[in-house]
């Protein structure tokens, strides 16, 4: 028996029907064709499936689809405004802070959540906030620089 869920995703009203045991990640990817969030581990350890729920950074693999009734979800697909990239996206490109790209959507969502909470994070705060987003390619140096640059730009 499917569960009917009404929610808001990236500002748009969205309704879907899902199974009780279906994760939000599977709903996004399989039912709504929002494949930016990836399954890296399915246990909440790698951050590749990062989304925000009511502004709070969350692993969508650990959240059930049925739980987001009435909530507001933010995914990587909603970070840019049309063709205009968010500063964190632009700085990731400028710093070449990506390689294979599977962690990148999660990094974008997590970094944006950090900067909304804390516009002027220290280098250490960035490192620990982002510790839940594993990247196997870059070594993180450029990712941290990108977040610092984006923070500076957003502060103006």
């Amino acid at each position: 028996m499917g569960i009917h869920v009404s929610t808001k995703i990236n500002g748009d009203d969205v309704e879907f029907v899902c199974d009780a045991e279906e994760t939000l990640l599977d709903v996004l990817r399989d039912r709504l064709n929002l494949t930016g969030a990836k399954e890296g581990c399915a246990t909440g350890d790698c951050g590749a499936c990062s989304v925000t729920i009511d502004g709070r950074l969350t692993c969508s693999c650990l959240t059930l689809g049925a739980e987001v009734e009435g909530r507001e979800i933010g995914t990587v697909e909603g970070v840019a405004k049309g063709n205009e990239l968010h500063p964190i996206q632009q700085k990731i490109l400028d710093n070449a802070a990506l390689q294979c790209g599977v962690c990148t959507p999660g990094i974008v969502v997590a970094a944006k959540a950090l900067l909304e909470k804390k516009p002027d994070p220290s280098e250490e705060e960035i490192r620990y906030w982002m510790a839940g987003n594993l990247c196997r390619c870059t070594g993180y140096d450029k990712i941290i620089r990108a977040i610092q640059d984006a923070a500076a730009e957003m502060r103006g």
């Binding site: 996206q89 959507p105 960035i126 196997r136």
Partner: protein
């Protein structure tokens, strides 16, 4: 529209070689729009496959009752060895990797059957209903056990030069010891996956996350008992490969293709993280023994090494990997009297496979350990002992496999980095700090790398490319290389843009596809841009020559008068836009399409006699790592890293810097936090990121100073004189390991050598602290 009208007045094209062109798919990645296999819209009625795996390490299969599973909800198809029309094997070399177990199982995680259902949850639920009875057999789980029982996947191999034993016997100082070196999980963030779509007649198309589409094609065809031409493999990008997707993706592809052809429905096999880590191979772990004789200066007079690596239940690529470990037993050191014995142990564990460096890092690890221990024994700075033993530039420069090192630049790199990193001053300060700090100890180490570039299996050193120019002047590029994040597609597109002197936006890079470029080698051995760049260049030059000849004819000039300028061609005093030239050539019936081919020159190797030139050239680099160790808990962190690495004349410095940084961190992870742990029954207990710790953002050194060596220029004629970059800098992670050892040594005021095994986890560090303290007291 601007992109459609190239600027024919500028001095320099956008995105040619040596430019910092960003990753071709970067824009898509930051928006979550880049499509990986699991993101491709699923065809209607697609089946999801789950693999039933062995739960014991070694056993005969007494009976299998799959009837309840077959009848389970949503199940469309169950496959076992009985259902394979062709050959039950997906191995890269030796025919010893069954797709499904046949009569016996040889490791925990070995596939026994596949069940395909409407959803993955239904397939998993069904798999639980399989009833398999085993008759357990004794299992060999460790290298030590295999060595004792003489259990190998292939014959031991020996490489020797000079009189190692004799020179050790007469040397003033001798060290005899052993060291353990752990394996490493690739942990590509995108797990193994293949999706197959059945075609008409015997055809099938497979979207595979693989570094080696041609080998996947051969294996799928072999399993289906169809010709290679019936099977098409397409791969746009990988979410990381690191060697793990070189040979073993053939399993996922074969099973999904078997299901697709058996049912007539599309079929996807995606391993979840835990199953991926249990079922697929890792970097080979090694047990090393060594005996070295040296003089008062630390100069090595003779050295004898024993390499014993864990192949797992089958060969996979073990022979080539163990050979590469032997080829790197010298690193940058002149070892006139050397003997290396190599054992490839067969165990009842998963079949180990390629991982960035392919045995090279393991080979270097041992000689660096030996040098470090020599320095400790003589109470010298290891840096001094390293330099003392370096290959000469013009003499003392022949490797143990009789290849002359013609491009040695390690002396210059080491000197530059020693100075730029302020090594000597910092080392003195660290020693002073340690005198006054009781619990927290600092350590520092500087290590070099020399890495041989080429597949050591000579025939693999070939590549193909396909270039089309359309009549609007836009270019389509295809080659046999795989984009796995390393920026290969960008680099090869830069080469094509440079050849045609057109902006890179005019070049479209397309998915690697066995129907476009056939018989390719794996994107591995760091050779991607070297080989595919040259093949693409050859294709572009063929068309360029035709266009040059055409322009000369058209303008009644000589070929020498045709000059290629940005987005245009000058013939004498006339200039014609590239797009116009192309259009005119088409109207005059000139072919605008060409293949290109490259075979790496100069290389050859006689394995039986261990003689030849297996490598086209060498890549060099060096790193200084500083660490802080808590000697009460064993916790440790890297605080500063300085790297100077030679990539020749960099095709793309931004991409190359990213490779160097990422490789170093991966190498440091291998030797510090990444621990694979099997229990006594042969079950891998670290099979998810919750227990297997790759470096996280919080582990990033606060101070990282990474530079490409400015003087770098490949002595050989490689693509625009660049050098390969993928694997060599991983070896620099060894400096982190020795820095930790240096910090531990300070506990006994550098009296007792910590003799650390790898990885240097917090537990191992703590044990080493205790051990050295006890040794110092006695």
């Amino acid at each position: 529209m601007s992109k459609l009208i190239p600027d024919i007045t500028k001095d320099k094209i956008a995105g040619g070689v040596y430019q910092n062109k960003l990753h071709d798919s970067g824009h898509k990645h930051v928006n979550g729009q880049a499509v990986y296999v699991d993101d491709i819209p699923e065809p209607h009625g697609m089946l999801h496959i789950y693999m039933g795996m062995s739960t014991v390490a070694h056993a005969k299969i007494k009976s299998m009752d799959l009837s309840e599973m077959r009848a389970s909800e949503g199940v469309a198809c169950v496959l076992t060895v009985e259902d394979i029309p062709g050959i039950n094997d997906y191995s890269p070399v030796k025919g010893d990797d069954p797709i499904f177990a046949e009569g016996k199982v040889e490791f925990i995680g070995q596939p026994i059957f596949a069940v395909a259902a409407d959803t993955i949850d239904l397939a998993r639920a069904a798999a639980k209903k399989a009833v398999i009875e085993y008759e357990e057999l004794p299992a060999i789980l460790t290298i030590a056990d295999a060595m004792e029982k003489g259990s190998y996947v292939s014959d031991p191999h020996v490489m020797a030069r000079g009189d190692a034993d004799g020179r050790i016997a007469t040397a003033k100082h001798v060290i005899k010891n052993s060291v353990e070196l752990g394996g490493q999980e690739q942990f590509y963030l995108e797990g193994m996956i293949a999706m197959s779509i059945p075609g008409e007649d015997d055809e099938v198309k497979v979207y595979s996350s693989t570094q080696h589409p041609s080998e996947v094609q051969h294996n799928v065809a072999k399993a289906l008992a169809v010709p290679d031409h019936a099977v098409t493999i397409e791969t746009r990008r990988l979410g990381g490969g690191f060697g793990g997707k070189e040979s073993q993706p053939a399993l996922m592809a074969s099973v999904s293709a078997l299901v697709a052809k058996a049912t007539g429905r599309a079929a996807k096999l995606r391993l979840d993280r835990d199953d991926d880590m249990v079922m697929t191979g890792k970097r080979h772990d090694f047990h090393f023994e060594y005996e070295v004789g040296f003089n008062d200066d630390g100069l090595i007079e003779g050295v004898s090494m024993l390499h014993a690596c864990r192949a797992g239940y089958s060969s996979d690529l073990t022979d080539a990997i163990a050979d590469r470990a032997m080829f790197h037993c010298d690193n940058v050191y002149w070892l006139p009297n050397i003997k290396v014995e190599s054992y490839r142990c067969k165990t009842n564990t998963v079949s180990n496979t390629a991982f960035r460096g392919f045995g090279g890092p393991q080979g270097v690890f041992l000689i660096e350990r030996i040098i470090d221990e020599i320095a400790a024994k003589l109470d010298k700075d290891p840096l001094e002992v390293r330099q003392k033993n370096f290959y000469g530039v013009d003499d003392n420069n022949v490797t143990p496999y009789h290849m002359t090192v013609e491009d040695n630049v390690i002396h210059e790199i080491f000197e530059e980095l020693e100075e730029s990193s302020d090594y000597q001053k910092r080392r003195a300060e660290i020693r002073e700090f340690n005198k006054h700090s009781k619990v927290l100890k600092k350590g520092i180490a500087m290590t070099p790398v020399k890495f041989g570039i080429s597949f050591t299996t000579t025939f693999l050193n070939q590549a193909g490319a396909l270039v089309h120019i359309y009549t609007d002047g836009s270019v389509k590029l295809n080659h046999g290389g795989i984009e796995m994040g390393q920026g290969l597609f960008t680099k090869v597109a830069q080469v094509v843009a440079e050849e045609f002197q057109i902006d890179i936006e005019r070049v479209k890079i397309t998915a690697t596809d066995t129907s476009k470029v056939p018989n390719t080698s794996a994107t591995a051995a760091s050779s991607g841009s070297d080989m595919n760049g040259m093949a693409a260049q050859a294709a572009a030059r063929t068309i360029k020559q035709r266009l040059t000849d055409f322009a000369a004819t058209q303008f009644q000039a000589s070929v020498e008068d045709v000059e290629w300028l940005p987005n245009r061609v000058r013939v004498g005093s006339e200039e014609i836009a590239f797009t116009d030239l192309v259009k005119q050539a088409y109207l005059n019936r000139i072919s605008l399409s060409s293949t290109g081919y490259y075979a790496t020159p100069k290389i050859h190797y006689d394995r039986e006699n261990c003689k030849g030139r297996p490598f086209f050239y060498f890549s060099y680099g060096a790193a200084v790592t500083e660490v802080l160790v808590d000697t009460l808990t064993g916790e440790n962190k890297i605080t500063r890293v300085d790297i100077l690495h030679d990539v020749g004349k960099s095709l793309n410095p931004t991409i190359d810097l990213g490779q160097v940084e990422g490789a170093y961190v991966q190498g440091a992870g291998w030797l510090t936090t990444e621990e694979l742990w099997w229990d006594q029954t042969g079950r891998l207990r670290t099979h998810a990121p919750s227990t297997y710790k790759i470096p996280a953002c919080s582990d990033r050194a606060e101070d990282m100073r990474i530079s490409l060596w400015e003087k770098g220029k490949n002595a050989e004629e490689t693509i625009y004189r660049s050098k390969a970059v993928g694997e060599p800098p991983l070896v620099l992670g060894i400096s982190a390991f020795h820095a930790i050892s240096d910090a531990i040594a300070s506990v006994t005021d550098y009296e007792v050598y910590p003799a650390l095994d790898a990885p240097a986890t917090a537990e191992r560090v703590l044990m080493a602290v205790d051990r050295t303290k006890k040794a110092a007291k006695s």
